[in-house]
Symmetry: C2
Subunit: 247 residues, 2 copies
Amino acid sequence: MHTPTSPVLAPMVHKLASRSPLGPADTAALLALPYRLATRDPGTYLVREGDRADSCIVLLSGFAYRSKMTGDGDRQILSIHLQGDLVDLQNSLLEVADHNVQALTRVELAYISQEAILDVAAAYPAVTQAFWRDTLVDASVFREWILNVGQRDARQRISHLLCELALRQEAAGICEGPRFEWPMTQEQVGDATGLTNVHVNRTLQRLREDGLISLGSKSVTITNWQDLQDAGDFNSAYLHQCFALPA
Amino acid sequence: MHTPTSPVLAPMVHKLASRSPLGPADTAALLALPYRLATRDPGTYLVREGDRADSCIVLLSGFAYRSKMTGDGDRQILSIHLQGDLVDLQNSLLEVADHNVQALTRVELAYISQEAILDVAAAYPAVTQAFWRDTLVDASVFREWILNVGQRDARQRISHLLCELALRQEAAGICEGPRFEWPMTQEQVGDATGLTNVHVNRTLQRLREDGLISLGSKSVTITNWQDLQDAGDFNSAYLHQCFALPA
DNA sequence: CGATCCTTTGATATGTTTCAAGCTTAGTGG
DNA sequence: CCACTAAGCTTGAAACATATCAAAGGATCG
């Protein structure tokens, strides 16, 4: 747990290192990346579909989400992001963004130029792998969400979402025990699961009645982890959290 | 349209080059990759969830699909693959496969060792980018499928699937005009769209009645491309087919 | 030419949406 | 500190899209 030159990017390195082996030189190079800081309010668009992205955003604190809209104006949330996530490597390497990224809570961001990303990747093969792997894990999560929204019923979808967020917050080291932040409105939960806010409400009530969860303001406590996993048909393999977390 | 040392991998190179700029040296290196040929029958598993993949499969002809199963045994098809597609870069770089890949028709495959892939990527930066981009475009397609399955109704979902397959087959240069191969059973269409085979059947009938498509055996003809696009809320941007196709 | 897999059709059941209204909470300004 | 407001949550009743079940009709292929 040595203090590097720039601990600001530490959450990102922590996350990359949790799934891809990185040596001291690699992590040093990542921590030394030049960045620009920013803060954004809830709801702000960090990336808009159609944007020509030239820099890459790291989420330092708070929550964000990716989304896409249908022509009819219905929103689908594609993924939820937290501390340490590279929120638009996906977009920035494909020239023009094919989806939106929005702040869910107040967020702190680091902007890293695309050029700097590609440079450090070119100089350190392990870093290339780590970035690539990061985008592949994102893809794996997308696949699980297709399954979630395509084949599971309301109770399963919502339970599954809760399990994923719980595990990811735990891996990021930002929750105490079974309680974690859940700064989504029920409408947003609906957008993430392909349900209406009304049905989300009723389903959450039943999960509470059944003793699986208990809701606070902007937070959840999982009161029965095993049952919630079962209710959500949840298997964490798709998150690919394989490596032990190094210093 | 020069004939390279090994034209067998040409469909893959064609596809990579259609979205990422590749110089002559890059394409030559790709075409020179060592491979092992194989043929598989419809339904065969090319990759199984949980497999530890050590080589990477290129689809040379025929169709394949990725899928995942719920604990209840429901199958969700995650993507459809055709000529030139790198069918499991996703899996092979993440140690253990998180989804299945199955042959949809009889397929011809080239197996390339993961090692060879990483070597050629390390030696040619443009190749790294091309592979990376390929996985990113896959991810973009996954995102669109989440939207499709999460927010659109049956008619839109099926129309959207048809539009995607039409455009991709056209880009791969394997269809004559508005008619293209569609070797999926209605049950498989249901698995891809989160619907039942019965409902797929009824919806397809309506698309036919409305004059948008006409069905042959294992093929479709799009009789009204504009209306089908509208019916499917289809916008091709997510396919990222940006570069002109070089020789 | 039978057997199996696929498609089609009908009737009924169900999960989820829609609409509409009342309720709670948190934030804001007087 | 108390309205006041807006946003979010909760509830009920009715409508709808899609699922389920079951059976008959067509293909396709050894």
